[in-house]
Subunit: 409 residues, 4 copies
């Protein structure tokens, strides 16, 4: 990308030091008009200061938007329908937010007639991939500026020097290096880098921002109910809530009960292992609730099929392929399964634990008549089991008869 | 199966009321010689009373064996190499014990020249399938007697009457009906049936036999280390231990810290949903430890491949196909992956939580040089990310150019 | 099933000797009213004789229906969207017809107030499973009568004797045993059993009913075009045709060019291997055409995802789970992918070969600008490949650096 | 890569114009010592001219090696054990040769103390990826030179000019542009590019190099037998042959009978669709033979498991990940399955068709007693089918009872 190629760029702008430096750098290096886009995805920061700062830089088109409901309804909930876990553990809090930012950035670019977009993600991480795959999928001819891969502000010192030269205000706490890096939205906070780089060392308590520790949580459990409709949570303790409000409440409940911490070494799409500390209080509760809701409402093979494609679905989201044909196809499969995932789950929250204490559903497939140890009035004929076993065993027996006993090959 | 077909049968005999009735019933109905086989798989019961009882029934060939080490080494550990969870949650404690019992029963049948085997599993459950698939795979021409599917002792009253008529001693606590049914071995206890049949109602505290509740667990965390070699745990807190000893110790640690309870509605192979209360204290710790050990030693795609086949592997074990070609093939894949899964994991156990607080390995693939936010001395060239993204995006852009934006199909 | 349980039964009735015997046997053994259902699925037999025969047996409610269009449109085409092959080779011609028969039988049962259904499939085959899984899924309380598993007419002699005793007309060619058994519908014919049982011996030419041999086919190739819309064929040689008409025409083309024969040893759901001779002339052409249509219109990962789930989808259909949640979920995934599978494929048919000689589509993703060996005007930047490779290689290099060269584990 | 970084480079050298220009360019641009490596993988060209040319360029270390046996034994046969097809059709003839070249190149680099390797693949294709992933996996610190991505000889004219300036002999037929590009080895030839770029146009007959057309093939079929041992072919028509000899003979048979042509639009790893004309005469016969051998010797679930992972295995090889942990893991699974894949397959080759006319094996699982339509002496109890169906139907019936008929969700 050379400077003269770009006329107008939409920058994903947080208002913080780094993206402020990027804003200025774009104006000076690319000499192009910069449009800022600042979104509330529930990261817990004021947005108005970002608007003020953008104005200070002479930005004429400033977009500040609350996307929390869209985020939860169209991204978080669809993902939770699949009980999605990356590498068996990670609830994908960062990954799932990127496509929405990319989507909105491109929509704004179309609106304001911008030919480029820019983001503040570094060249080692997954986020650059997630942003840019989204950009390219949604607007194939867009120009993408990734300052961290381009500029020479490769050290904190240089960055601060640039800020100073350009009258970019640097708050005191930003003068020193942050001891680790943070990303947050309504689903989670992640912390990584620097003091967290050694996977042999546990994170200090100060790292955690969104949860108290299990140890600090109350000695008495909290009981809640969550109601589901078509696989999505719709009410908490009987109160119908909007998606973002519901997740906000669950976050509060999770925080207070020390729920949702994860210390993980994961594999990045760009090829290396990295270590992250994640806090997903509400999401952790939601996963447990959804699994339990499905446990009585979902057919066995429907559930097993979902489980078998989940790792791939998780990988797609982690790698940044939300806006891809294959993610859409898997989503169609997943969504088809959720029609009868309706009902209520009761949970006990206690010092890091999410314990299911009851599930009920108008669509329950759990049939006491059949399963009972008691007399079942003919709902199940035990003698059927013999034929079932005999035919399931037939191929194994035929193998055994010619010397391949025990399933030998 | 008609009576005159069978000459000698090996019965999986616990010494309890039910299998004692079966023993007698086999002797009278089939008029055949009965050989008993009683195994210690860590269920926590004395075996010698079973021997005495068998003698009382005139059994001449009595096998009483301690199989705990074999159980853990050749069945539990191989399964844990895959981070196996059935339906996302269940550690398969019952399922994994059945193949060993079946195997040993068949070996004994060969030894004593028996033409039949018998078990005490009911006609509604999975265990009959697991036993019998094992029998048939290992000895295709074996005759299988499943009394619960054959006899007319279909109520507790009839069973007790038969016991009385045949001078089978019934301990007082067995006179009334047990409020639920229990299975146990070194890996877990399960409780199900009767008072546990309603999935909307949480189990009473009395149901739990192998763990104290998180609430009752100590207020202070316990820290431990587990060492792995080729994917299997070999030492606890630095002390090298045999497989069964190690699992026994982990069980104690889990019990004391309220770890490993699961209240689950699962899908049986025979077709219905059932509800089980599982306690897998040591196994729950082991799963967390193994996942964390893999997180720094296993290649990304190796791990993802394992994750993608795991649901199928779990299903095979749950359904009783341990002795099958497909389980052996998957095991070959899994075992191949574990060569470098060596090192030490540190864990904190606290009121139901298993929290990783450190992992280290001589085979670690985690490379601080590459991942660092700091200067990386050229270990990673950020500019490579651009080409990586561009080519990953190419197909999406080509789609977008002909109107299929955002991954539309 | 005991006789007195059944009041009225809907029989899948072909009008042939076997189902005529069943008809009579149901009337006498079950003493119930029999309703006949005879469907034209393109098996190439007159249906009116079946009606006459049914009348002769005193049947009052006789259903004779032409289901060819429904069969192709709602069963064959959806299956072909997935390029479905069981065990890599079999186009599932028998399997895909069974669910429709079951469905219609149940609809008729509801209409006429029947409480039971009956079919003429034997106890060793897959068809009994396919029929009955369909019945049970569509009408869970239906009673199923499978005479071949129940009666004592276990030899040809007994069957003929029963026919004679009951004045069932036996045509001369049915007096002797057929040398093999045949099933046919618009998609295929299958031949199996008796003289075909030895997989070491090739089938005689007389076995083939629906195709001439490649040797006998013309020495000059026939060229055709097939047009697709949303993944389904809609026109042949430019002429828009209904589903059944189109398949009928393709069958003729295939027959004349010796296309679509398959000699297969397959694995039945009930546990044994069996050998079948299949002729699927039109279907074989259609598969080649569809694959080629997809090759230019389907995104890479969409195609790979389809390929990865196809074996499971094929297995479900083969095993009789058409009316199951998991088949519906997979169908949703597959159907989602077909939106842009539009265009025209040109094929050359020659002595058993189906050779693609051209594909074009308004939705083509094939982009000559990008792929060209010539100057591509910047559509693709070769230097991007370097970063792409470097990051794809990163994990392998990190492994190699610690001694795991060449992808060692 | 800058010139002064490299001291000694091993070049994959064919002796043709392009790699001769590369050789000279490396000497002049990088000023480094060049070692040439020329391998016979069955491409059907003389190697000695390459040696002479290398000498002419002053190369001191020249490696000319016949790798045909290694190629077939350690790469082709392992791949065929999986019945590998990329995108349902492609036998991966090019893909499977690249890892061997990379491996040998790296071994030579280690031997001669070279710090770099170079190849002649272009920046748009898959081969660059396959070579380089192999290099990096086997020698993580190797420097890779890909001249086509680096130099400015971006047109034929410039290339020829460079050749002229450097006294590189250009044979007359190379002066003009080749109408398409060819790759060949013992498994296949591929042709692509230029006149073949339009997928709507069939390739001219002159494109084919390794097969005659079905039309030109004899009017009389040729019958052959292939014997397998542990899944690999070991004899043709009863004559035991080395791997490369066997494949050479099969190629001749395939060529003469018009077998193994494929006109394919495929999806490249680097992101675009491309069109290739492939000829794999021997491989096409081998695939049919192996599938048929497995059909009587492989357990059903073993076969289905193989089929389910095959698309991923094919993708790995196509994408260049032969030397990866995941390919090794899948290979372990595949190889485990082949122990009993022994026996003989008879085939008829006729004008493009490969028709199985018989399979036999000492390890056959095909059991006439069980499958027969005749009296089976109790090998299979038809009544077992009832229980088998009932329990397979149970979950569908339970669904139907609460309104989810027909497998509705």
């Amino acid at each position: 990308m050379t400077a003269r190629d770009v006329k107008k760029v939409v920058l994903a702008y947080s208002g913080g030091l780094d993206t402020s430096v990027i804003l200025k750098w774009l104006q000076t290096e690319y000499g192009c008009e910069v449009v800022t886009f600042t979104a509330d995805l529930g990261q817990g920061e004021e947005l108005e200061p970002a608007r003020k700062k953008a104005e200070m830089f002479g930005v004429k088109e400033i977009f500040v938007e609350d996307l929390r409901e869209t985020f939860v309804k169209d991204f978080v909930f669809p993902m939770f329908r699949a009980n999605t876990l990356y590498e068996g553990q990670y609830l994908l809090g960062t990954s799932i937010a990127r496509p929405l930012i990319a989507q909105r950035q491109i929509e704004i670019a179309e609106m304001v007639g911008a030919d480029a977009v820019a983001h503040g993600a570094t060249g080692k991480g997954n986020d650059q991939v997630r942003f840019e795959l989204g950009y390219y999928a949604l607007k194939p001819d867009v120009k993408v500026i990734a300052p961290w891969r381009e500029w020479d502000l490769t050290s904190r010192t240089k960055l601060l020097a640039f800020a100073e030269q350009n009258q970019i205000p640097v708050t005191k706490d930003k003068r020193g290096e942050a001891p680790f890096s943070v990303d947050a939205n309504l689903l989670h906070s992640s912390s990584e880098g620097k003091i967290l780089e050694d996977p042999a060392v546990a994170p200090d308590e100060i790292v955690f921002q969104r949860t108290i520790s299990p140890e600090a949580a109350p000695d008495v459990a909290t009981e809640i109910t969550i109601d589901f409709h078509h696989g999505d949570p719709v009410a908490l303790n009987g109160e119908t809530l909007s998606p973002a409000t519901l997740l906000t409440r669950l976050n509060k409940l999770g925080r207070d009960n020390g729920i949702g911490r994860l210390d993980l070494v994961e594999n990045r799409f760009v090829g290396m292992k990295s270590r992250g500390i994640y806090e997903t209080p509400g999401g952790t509760i939601l996963l447990a609730a959804h699994r339990n809701m499905e446990s009585i409402t979902l057919d066995r093979e429907a559930g097993h099929l979902k489980d078998s494609i989940m790792p791939r679905y998780a990988e797609l989201i982690y790698n940044g392929f939300w806006f891809s044909p294959e993610r859409r196809m898997l989503q169609a499969l997943i969504d088809t399964s959720q029609h009868s995932v309706n009902g209520r789950v009761r949970l006990k929250l206690y010092k890091g634990n999410v314990i299911c204490i009851g599930r009920e559903s108008p669509n329950s497939l759990y049939d006491t008549r059949v399963v009972t140890f008691e007399e079942d009035e003919g709902a199940y004929n035990q003698i059927d089991a013999q034929g079932f076993i005999k035919l399931n065993a037939l191929r194994l027996r035929l193998g055994g008869q010619i010397g391949r006993t025990g399933g030998a090959l």
